[in-house]
């Protein structure tokens, strides 16, 4: 069977790329990109073949997917985990996003990283990430997924900390890894719970067992909650969202690939993958929805005031991921995956654009030192504008279809509160995106005068991927999401989610444009449009030839106002003080606890040991004093001993 080779090759090729580059990359120097990029390209081709076969349900995929078993990984008696890969339609969708964005980011990096000393290292890491991410979506057992889960964490760590000399980068890398680990603990426990309940870790087999109604060692909601914890960590949802903005310390292609388009979606993928479990744990679904939508509004509120271009995008990513979880929580499985794919493309695009901007202004990331760039870097500008429109949810771009579907299903599935918050967030999204556009591309230039003359458009290696990414950002929605709720994607994913949706008893009515769906449509688009206009008013966005003098004072008013406005402004600026809270909890208090335990170890535990030793020595020193050196003292001792001895014997004998 050809797929027995193809599927493993998808992951194996980047692995080979990583291994070879790691060994010989240093010698290849500036040519180091050929091997990794080639491998990813090959991998992309294979992925496309596999995805096409799967989505068309041709060949071996006819029966809902096809799996390959590689070897007995952990043969520990009843605990027998096989290393195996499995492709179904969900995996295929993810494969498309991962390999496509991955390939384009690889290409983009050729230009972006061209002058970096660690050129070969960067490509080695990127390939490592590709391997990990591909295994994550391909893995056929929870443990395999967990392996990849950790490996993407490792790649993320390596890439965030790529510029290790920067202390902030090193700290951010560590923070990302550790915060992720918090979630991983939950995921790991979830896997243990699954094994304890089902005796297997094969995803399909264990899920089948879990939903069969057989008695379980661990209640289903608990398992779902534990698995969700893992997703929360990896997808940076509240309260484990703190690592993602810091992760922007990594090179921008990394932010695009890992922290926007692929890895952070792993949580969404995991929940979607485990949809039968979640579907039977409605209480957990509410938690998922709540955390998702809360993260969405929280992140959006922070994005309002950030001045670092990448951070705005990072918070935007958080917010959009929140949308996805909200979708999962309300049972809009397909919509979540839809948004995942769309977001993967347009957020990848936005990040690469921001990288292009940063490149152009010589590694400046502060938007207060940009402005008026649109004429200088037109490709970047236009592609980024496409991305911004897409994310704002303006039809007919990709973001509109997915977002509209999420909000629509939330409303129709009875999660009015989710819809309401999501609705507000939609407006906020459009606002902060156009704030970004305004500050970056329009108005007068605030660029450092020294840099000003050197601003230039990026090389083709960078600009071509931008263009290529802009295409799906525009067309994806129309291609697979239209007509609403009955697009291609819905048909693809129906085998994956159908059963759960039936179990949840939600038979969505047909899409009624001239009904509730139409109203929601208008509302969503409307608030986005209003937000864009407001941003335009404040930040001088020039849109479709309309130009307005920026009224930045409206923004500055907020910073100087009193009362609630001021509080909100400060909260947004300080990211709702989460970093300070963590600092207090983990660095100051946690550090004190650790120091205390160390003190305890030295003084009490070891002190007891040394104390016994010292006590022994003291006893010896005390006892040696009876050796006075004088015979008569000795004799008296003997005489007293004799008397005691006599007394003892008299007592013993007289007994």
């Amino acid at each position: 069977m050809i797929f027995d080779v193809l599927i493993p090759l998808i992951a194996a090729l980047p692995l080979a790329g990583f291994a070879l580059t790691a060994v010989v990359g240093r010698r290849l120097d500036k040519e180091a990109h050929w091997l990794p990029v080639g491998m990813v390209l090959a991998s992309w081709v294979l992925s496309m073949i596999v995805a096409f076969s799967a989505l068309t349900a041709s060949g071996p995929f006819a029966d809902g997917g096809y799996g390959v078993k590689l070897w007995d990984w952990i043969p520990a008696g009843t605990f027998n985990v096989q290393a195996g890969l499995f492709v179904d339609n969900l995996t295929a969708c993810l494969l498309i996003v991962v390999t496509t964005v991955g390939l384009l980011v690889h290409v983009y990096s050729i230009g972006y990283m061209a002058h970096d000393a660690g050129y070969w290292r960067f490509f080695a890491y990127l390939n490592l990430f590709m391997v990990s991410m591909l295994i994550l979506v391909l893995g056929d057992s929870f443990l395999t997924v967990f392996v990849a889960w950790e490996l993407v964490g490792l790649s993320s760590y390596l890439l965030i900390g790529f510029w290790y000399r920067k202390r902030s980068a090193a700290l951010a890398a560590k923070k990302a890894f550790i915060v992720n680990r918090v979630g991983d603990v939950g995921f790991a426990l979830g896997i243990m719970a699954i094994f304890a309940s089902t005796g297997t870790l094969d995803i399909r087999a264990s899920i089948e067992h879990l939903i069969s109604g057989a008695p379980l060692a661990v209640p289903l909601p608990v398992i779902a909650l534990l698995v969700f914890t893992g997703a929360v960590g990896k997808s940076a949802q509240f309260p484990l969202h703190v690592w993602l903005p810091d992760a922007m310390e990594g090179p921008t292609p990394v932010s695009a690939l890992i922290h926007a388009a692929t890895m952070v979606n792993a949580g969404v993928y995991l929940v979607a993958r485990a949809n039968p479990i979640f579907g039977r744990a409605p209480e957990v679904m509410v938690v998922v929805a709540a955390i998702g939508i809360f993260t969405a509004i929280l992140a959006a509120s922070i994005a309002f005031t950030q001045t670092d271009i990448k951070r705005v995008l990072a918070y935007s990513t958080l917010s959009q991921l929140g949308y996805m979880f909200a979708a999962l929580g309300v049972g809009a499985w397909t919509a979540a995956i839809f948004h995942l794919m769309a977001h993967g493309f347009f957020k990848g695009l936005l990040f690469l654009d921001s990288g292009s901007v940063i490149h152009a202004v010589h590694d400046e990331q502060d938007m207060r030192r940009m402005g008026g760039l649109w004429r200088r870097i037109p490709i970047t500008y236009w592609t980024m504008l496409i991305g911004a429109v897409a994310i704002s949810g303006i039809p007919p771009l990709a973001g509109f279809f997915s977002k509209d579907e999420i909000l629509g299903e939330a409303f129709k599935n009875g999660f009015l509160w989710v819809w309401a918050i999501g609705f507000v967030v939609a407006g906020m999204t459009a606002f902060y995106m156009f704030r970004l556009m305004g500050l970056t591309f329009w108005g007068e230039s605030r660029v450092d005068p020294e840099v000003e003359p050197k601003i230039h458009e990026s090389p083709p290696a960078m600009s071509i991927p931008l263009v290529l990414l802009a295409i799906p950002s525009v067309l994806l929605g129309l291609a697979i999401g239209f007509p609403p709720e009955d697009g291609l994607l819905h048909r693809w994913l129906a085998p994956v989610f159908e059963e759960t949706e039936q179990a949840m008893g939600r038979h969505a009515a047909a899409y009624q444009f001239f009904g509730i769906d139409g109203v929601l449509f208008i509302a969503t688009v409307g608030i986005a449009a209003i937000a864009i206009v407001v941003a335009w008013r404040i930040f001088g966005v020039e849109l479709l030839g309309l130009r307005l003098r920026p009224r930045r004072e409206l923004a500055t008013d907020a910073t100087t106002a009193n009362g609630l406005t001021r509080f909100l402004y400060r909260a947004s600026l300080n990211k709702w003080w989460f970093d300070d809270l963590n600092d207090l909890l983990f660095i100051r208090i946690g550090g004190r606890v650790a120091m205390f335990l160390w003190w305890f170890d030295r003084t009490i535990v070891d002190g007891a040991v040394n104390g016994i030793g010292a006590l022994t020595g003291d006893a010896g020193r005390g006892l040696r004093r009876i050796q006075t050196g004088r015979v008569q003292n000795y004799a008296l001792g003997i005489a007293l001993g004799l008397l005691v001895m006599a007394g003892s014997y008299l007592l013993i004998v007289g007994r």
Partner: protein, 179 residues
């Protein structure tokens, strides 16, 4: 044998009187030995003590032992000790304290020891206690050379070893200060 067994008026047996006198002498001189300041007088008191002791041996019906006591202790050991006293007598020595600082505890210990022994002795049934019987020299000799031949020979080896070592230790090496 004209002397009666008892003192006429008091009705106390002569032997008892003698015993008491000898015992008192022995204990008294013994105490002097351990308490007197002048060590030479201590030595002399010890000779007196041993004399009284040999008297007691006679009373106990062991004249041979009594004779040996006089010969060995008074004749040999005491003289040896007196010689040693002379040899080691420094001019400054007598002014010093006789007793250790622990004389009082020592006294208490000794008294307790004496009491314990006395109580034990009186609490013990010594079995077939008969009247005093004097053992004849001939009998002693027979015992010595039959049952106690080996001990007798060992004693000679012991004395030989003591003499060999004692001579080595006490003899003056060349270049050593005279005593």
């Amino acid at each position: 044998m004209g002397i009666p067994d008892t003192i006429p008026i008091l009705g106390i047996r002569w032997e008892d009187v003698l015993f008491v006198i000898l015992a008192a002498t022995m204990l008294g001189t013994g105490l002097l030995v351990v308490t007197m300041r002048d060590i030479i007088r201590c030595g002399l008191a010890m000779i007196a003590c041993f004399g009284a002791l040999s008297g007691l041996y006679v009373l106990a019906g062991a004249p041979l032992v009594a004779a040996a006591e006089v010969l060995v202790y008074i004749g040999a050991i005491s003289v040896l000790i007196l010689f040693a006293i002379m040899l080691t007598q420094t001019k400054s020595a007598p002014a010093r304290l006789v007793f250790q600082t622990q004389a009082v505890p020592a006294a208490i210990a000794a008294v307790v020891l004496a009491i314990v022994i006395a109580l034990t002795v009186s609490a013990t049934d010594w079995g077939a206690v008969g009247q005093r019987i004097a053992a004849g020299s001939e009998e002693i000799a027979r015992t010595l050379f039959s049952g106690y031949l080996l001990p007798f020979e060992v004693v000679s080896v012991l004395l030989l070893a003591a003499v060999v070592g004692g001579v080595f230790l006490a003899k003056q090496e060349r270049g050593e200060p005279r005593l």
